[in-house]
Every structure is written in C-alpha cells, then in structure tokens.
Symmetry: C2
Subunit: 168 residues, 2 copies
C-alpha cells in the first residue's frame, strides 16, 4: 500500500471498482431491525462522485425501509478481480423529473414499460459519506486473508490495499 | 422460476452460491449506527447448513460491533455468474477450542501465525435466519433489471429466480 496516495488517487480507485462491478448489494434495515440486501445496478454510472443512483418504484419495500432508517450500505464485490468496496451513506427517494430524465437509459424500459412516464417511477439516491476499498494483486486466498488480517489487526493490509476515504 | 421448488431445493441452490462465491461482504452496524461492510472468507465452507463461520481476532472492531448490534447481513455476489444471495442473521463470537480446531486450515497460519495457539484467535459465527437469492441465465443487463423488477413489484422475478428462504 502506498502511503503517498492522495484523496484523488483513492477516489479514482474507488470509482474504478464501482464502475467495473456496477451491480452492488444494497443493505437496508427492515421494520424488525434486520439487515437485508439485494442486488442493484448503479445504472452504469461511470462518473461516481459520491452519490449512487438507482431506479426504483416509489412504493417499493426498500423505499419504505429507507424512509424509516436512511442509513444504508452499498457493497461492490468482484471476487475474480479481488476488488471490494464498502460505501456507507444515507438513502432518500428522489422524484425530480429532470434527474430522472438525465439518468434514464432506453434499456430500462423493460422494467419501466412506460419509460419516464411510468407511474411511481423514482430514484433512490445514496449520498455516500464514507467508503473503504480493498484491492489486491495477490491470489484469491492470499487476498481474502489479507483482508481479514488488515481488518482484524486494525492496520493496513500488508498483502493488498485497504484505503478508507471520507467523502464528506 | 419454478413454483415446485422444495425448501431443500432452495437451500441447495443457496448452498451452491455460498460455496461458489466464498468471499462475502459482511455488513455490521457501528457505534454511530452507520452500516459498513468488509470482505470475509467463509473459510471454504462447502456444507453451508445455515451458519457462517469466519476466523477473526476477539479484540477486533467488528467483534465490538456485533457485541452491541448482533444483527448482520452477509451478501454473496458473483456478477459474472449473475448469482446473488442475501443472508440475514445474528453474529456472535465463539471461542470454543474444539470448533476452532475443526474449522482450522493450514493456510490461515499466514494471518494467525501461531495457528490455533494464536492469542485472541476466535470465530465469528453468523446464525442465518433468512436468506434470499437471485439466479439468472439472462445477460447481465437483463438480470440486473429483472432483480429490480422483482423487488420493486413485490413479485417473483420473471427473468430469473428470486427465492426467499426461512432457515429458522
């Protein structure tokens, strides 16, 4: 791990992982206080700047959940490339028409059949406050355990990178 | 999605995903109530029966966290194979010597240099109460959105599988 990495270097690496993986597991808290997650596409966003945007329906269960407990985690995992990222933030529903138009992609029509006119279409915005990532050129085994090592011992991974980034 | 899948079929599929991915993102709640996650190896456990076991140090930060808030989520994602699983459960620290010996693998010595004699070595056990998985033979794009569709609409995915399993 290079100690000389700047905040911009780190954000660049984080952006690279978010771009490459795209489909994250978004963890929310349900009405029982249980944590559960589901795969969500980051909508092909390759210019990650600290906010994640997901298309959703305003009446969906996860929208109820983040209304009660806005704190969420989005994890990006690529076990082949041995790259992982944890993004901690707050989720909110956004119904801004201009933003929906800006982020809309034609292939979304398969799930939002009336396009941006689909009733109840909305965006889930996650404002990321903190992020960590793990990146290793080691074998899967070495990398996996280097992660355990770095986290357990509370020190930087010695066999890979583990960078914490404060985004706000 | 087959409606005729038995609980055992579903558990078999879930076990297949857990085995194939092995490295999950374990989400815990920190002292501020923020959710964060980190990659953890399920220790090559191929006989997943509802419990996940991770080697750790008893003094690690995540052990503190689950001591305060035991509810956790373990997400398994394979974006290439388009398989995803969300496991909701409760974590606890286990220091049982017999269990540590049972699960110990020689390659762990790189991170626990004194082997099972390493001071403070412990296990993090997650008792999984509920699980969901997503499995699709569709393209990445179709799959990603089929997930959104199934979750948003509160009905089974039409372009893939989304099975919920109550393990307890």
């Amino acid at each position: 791990m290079s100690q000389a990495m700047t905040q911009e270097d780190k954000l660049g690496k984080l952006r690279e992982i978010v771009k490459a993986v795209d489909i994250c597991m978004l963890t929310t808290t349900d009405e029982r206080g249980d944590l559960h997650s589901r795969p969500m596409s980051n909508n092909g966003d390759i210019e990650f700047d600290g906010d994640l945007w997901f298309f959703t329906y305003g009446s969906s269960h996860k929208v109820d959940e983040v209304g009660r407990v806005p704190k969420v985690n989005a994890s990006f995992a690529d076990t082949d490339a041995q790259q992982y990222a944890s993004l901690t933030g707050r989720a909110e529903v956004v119904r801004d028409r201009a933003k929906i138009e800006e982020l809309w992609k034609p292939q979304l029509r398969a799930w939002f059949p009336e396009g941006i006119e689909t009733p109840d279409i909305a965006l889930l915005k996650v404002t990321v406050e903190r992020a960590e990532y793990w990146d290793s050129s080691q074998s899967i085994v070495a990398h996996a355990v280097s992660l355990i090592s770095s986290l357990v011992a509370g020190k930087p991974a010695q066999l890979g990178e583990n960078e914490r980034i404060d985004l706000k």
